[in-house]
């Protein structure tokens, strides 16, 4: 008995008519990239479902643990292969079911028998396997219709194949199907979640982060690196652009009244982001803004900030509650990184009473006394670019 196959059911992709082929090959490529470290992986993509084959147990475990985060998959099931001995089949069936939550669950066995030479008929196979599993799992009940656990057994020429578990996939579209956009990544809870939602719509990400040493620490930057690493774990590499932002931030503080520094700072960030977006051939900017969450996220603020560009600004969280956002952050593993207590450049210069209804023309007026263009060009030119997932370099060779 060995679990060496996975059956994948496509997500939304099944409805995509003529683009279907492109979508399937995109998904296949993403899976291949994601599991490049598992050389034994083979992929067979069919019209309605995809099969992954992997004979190495550890590789298989790795795949099962990461596949739920790959977009374009509705659900998937690990498939266990056994010999055509009824005895081994029933033991395998029990070991599959015993790994599942069986408390108060209903159960059935369904059998397909394309191998007509197999000496037992369907009812007998069902009885033997079902009886054995039920006999050893007293808390299970039988339900022929809509059982919680449907153990399907397929008797083929070479072997018997069994599966019972259906693991939910991340749904959505395979990354790359939706073009490229630039995500403004602060280090907080919201922006990685915004990135996740866009990834789920098949968008490839570029990331931009504003770094203001010494006001923000190395640790805050490291947090962003870790978030970028996480965001690169969904089957598509990402590039992070780190912008040296201290000079501009200080200049804004000198030039504009305290209560609108926040608005003005955001406008500078947006201008820089737009410049980087153009350089990376991205088509839109993504932010983690959620309406009314903080002063910069009122409609008036959004209008004042948005006024610096015509580029589409995507705000996937605009109508979400903080709790919803936190839930997603926890599910995708960015929450624990985001809540590390290091300040980013947005929190560090926050005035006591920022304007919640800034007027665009007023902000423009205050900014007009300095030529920010030059500073912005410099910041863009001096940005640090890091690719993710990062190659793990062995730094401590002499010690370890």
């Amino acid at each position: 008995m060995k679990t060496n196959q996975i059956l994948i059911r496509y997500g939304e992709l099944s409805t995509k008519g003529r683009n279907r082929k492109a979508f399937i090959s995109r998904l296949r490529n993403n899976i291949q990239t994601l599991f490049a470290g598992t050389p034994t992986l083979r992929i067979k993509a069919e019209r309605d479902r995809m099969f992954l084959f992997c004979d190495d147990e550890q590789g298989m475990e790795d795949i099962v643990s990461r596949l739920p985060y790959v977009f374009g998959i509705q659900s998937f099931s690990p498939v266990t292969q056994t010999s055509l001995e009824l005895d081994e089949m029933k033991h395998t069936a029990l070991s599959i079911v015993s790994k599942m939550d069986t408390k108060d669950k209903s159960f059935k066995v369904s059998v397909k028998r394309p191998n007509k030479e197999f000496p037992y008929e369907k009812p007998e196979i069902m009885r033997t396997i079902g009886g054995y599993v039920l006999g050893n799992t007293p808390e299970l009940t039988v339900a022929m219709r809509n059982p919680d656990i449907d153990l399907s057994v397929e008797i083929r020429q070479d072997a018997a194949y069994m599966m019972a578990e259906t693991i939910q996939g991340a749904a959505g579209l395979p990354i790359g199907a939706g073009g490229r956009a630039l995500l403004m990544l602060s280090g907080g809870i919201d922006s990685p979640v915004a990135g996740y939602h866009m990834l789920k719509r098949g968008v490839r990400l570029e990331l931009i982060h504003f770094f203001s040493p010494p006001f923000t620490t190395e640790r805050a930057k490291e947090k962003v690196l870790d978030l970028a690493e996480k965001l690169s774990g969904f089957g598509s590499p990402v590039t992070l652009h780190i912008i040296p932002f201290t000079e501009i931030q200080q200049e804004v503080h000198k030039q504009v009244p305290d209560n609108i520094t926040m608005t003005s700072t955001r406008r500078m960030m947006m201008r820089i982001a737009d410049a980087v977006r153009a350089k990376t051939d991205a088509k839109a900017i993504i932010t983690g803004e959620s309406l009314g969450q903080v002063a910069s996220q009122t409609l008036e603020s959004l209008q004042a900030i948005n006024a610096v560009t015509n580029t589409p600004i995507l705000r996937p969280l605009i109508a979400q509650d903080k709790l919803e956002i936190i839930e997603t952050a926890q599910a995708i593993g960015t929450y624990d990184i985001s809540i590390r207590p290091y300040e980013d450049c947005c929190t560090i210069f926050t005035p006591a009473n920022p304007k919640t209804k800034p007027k665009t023309d007023k902000v423009e007026h205050y900014e007009s006394f300095v030529s920010f263009d030059e500073m912005i060009d410099r910041a863009v030119a001096e940005r640090e670019i890091i690719e993710f997932p990062r190659k793990k370099q062995q730094r401590f060779e002499d010690l370890l």
Partner: protein, 370 residues
């Protein structure tokens, strides 16, 4: 001096010491600190951790103060985290005290403990284990290699048995790690490793975890994902990673073990306690009607260091619990000594042991006869 007490502890490898010294002076910062030095210390800590993950094949590594703490964390931590599912734990009579004592404590707290018996070879009967398993069994804790007599538990069979059961499987691999690597079929949910048994340093161990819920046994600053509070020793972690990388099973041990077995078989009053299937680096033998301490002392006079059955029980006057459990014949019960090899043991040591044992034996028996 010929050192053959490597199951008590080993001499640190000079390269491991070098790592420890360098890391202590260069990366002394607290890995949780915000500044660059803290950052670098953390990087080293995490590099050490990922090296250990790779070597052991586990997804999660918790640094501890050694094998005892790792065993306590595995047992108490798993028991408390899973007590809603059940309060029954299975272990074995010949386990190390750092497993048996926490189990005793849990028993006082209302957990039910089943300790499996062993046969003359120190082996459990798998049928006993199967019978002891209950719906409410939450943990099975069995050692890889017995520290006193070298018996190896059939981990692959036990693992297979537990694949159909929700109980967690903990293995104290203190005597096996670095010497007898586990195959994939043997790997438990929780694995205890101690550095100083494979030429690393004392006060340093890990608990390797694979999909197991635990509760902490130490409370404080929440280091190690909340499971082990206390500033992590970065030099210890680096030294452990290094020692584990350098540790390689020595195929010669098997040969030397056989050589010593046939040597001891030549003495009518020596009983070979370790079963023939035992770990090759541990050989326990017993001398008839003589106390183990006497033989250890006589060998020491000849410049050979061995121990009575185990260093931990050596100071107790009565026979060790392992010797009791395997039911050694009465006349041998007090006379067990343990010879254990390490990476620095040479064949010359073995030849010398034979010569000097002969002298020590003559001395003891001479005294007895007069």
């Amino acid at each position: 001096m010929i050192y053959l007490d490597n199951s008590a502890t080993t001499e640190p490898d000079p390269q491991v010491l070098e790592t420890y010294v360098k890391a202590s002076s260069r990366y002394f910062a607290n890995p949780a600190s915000l500044h660059r030095l803290g950052n670098e210390a953390e990087d080293l800590l995490e590099s050490a951790r990922s090296q250990i993950k790779g070597l052991l094949g586990y997804g999660r590594i918790i640094f501890t103060s050694g094998g005892t703490e790792a065993n306590n964390l595995a047992i108490r931590g798993a028991a408390h985290a899973n007590q809603e599912k059940g309060r029954h734990i299975i272990s074995c009579k010949t386990e190390h005290p750092s497993v048996l004592e926490p189990l005793k404590q849990l028993e006082k707290e209302g957990f039910e403990i089943t300790l499996l018996s062993v046969d003359r070879k120190g082996a459990i009967d798998l049928a006993d284990l199967q019978q002891a398993l209950r719906v409410d069994t939450i943990l099975v804790s069995l050692m890889q290699v017995n520290n006193e007599i070298g018996t190896i538990h059939p981990l692959a069979d036990i693992r297979r048995m537990l694949n159909n059961h929700r109980a967690l499987f903990h293995v104290d691999a203190v005597q096996g790690a670095g010497k007898l690597p586990l195959s994939e079929q043997e790997m438990p949910d929780l694995l205890t490793v101690s550095a100083h048994k494979f030429h690393g340093l004392k006060n340093s161990g890990v608990l390797a975890v694979h999909k197991a819920e635990l509760e902490p046994i130490l409370f404080g600053g929440g280091q190690e994902g909340g499971l082990r509070s206390g500033t992590v020793s970065v030099p210890n972690a680096a030294a452990l990673a290094k020692a584990l990388r350098l540790a390689t099973p020595n195929p010669d041990h098997l040969e030397w073990n056989a050589e010593l077995r046939s040597f001891f078989a030549g003495y009518k009053d020596i009983f070979i306690v370790s079963p023939s299937s035992a770990a090759p680096h541990i050989l326990a033998v017993a001398i008839k009607d003589v106390r183990g301490e006497t033989l250890v002392g006589a060998l020491q006079q000849e410049g050979v260091i061995v121990s009575t059955s185990s260093a931990c029980s050596s100071k107790n006057k009565q026979a060790s619990h392992v010797i009791e459990a395997i039911g050694l014949p009465r006349e041998y019960r007090d006379g067990t000594i343990r010879i254990s090899f390490g990476a620095m043991t040479t064949h010359e040591d073995i030849s010398e042991l034979k010569k000097r044992f002969h002298k020590a034996h003559q001395l003891i028996k001479g005294v007895e006869q007069s």
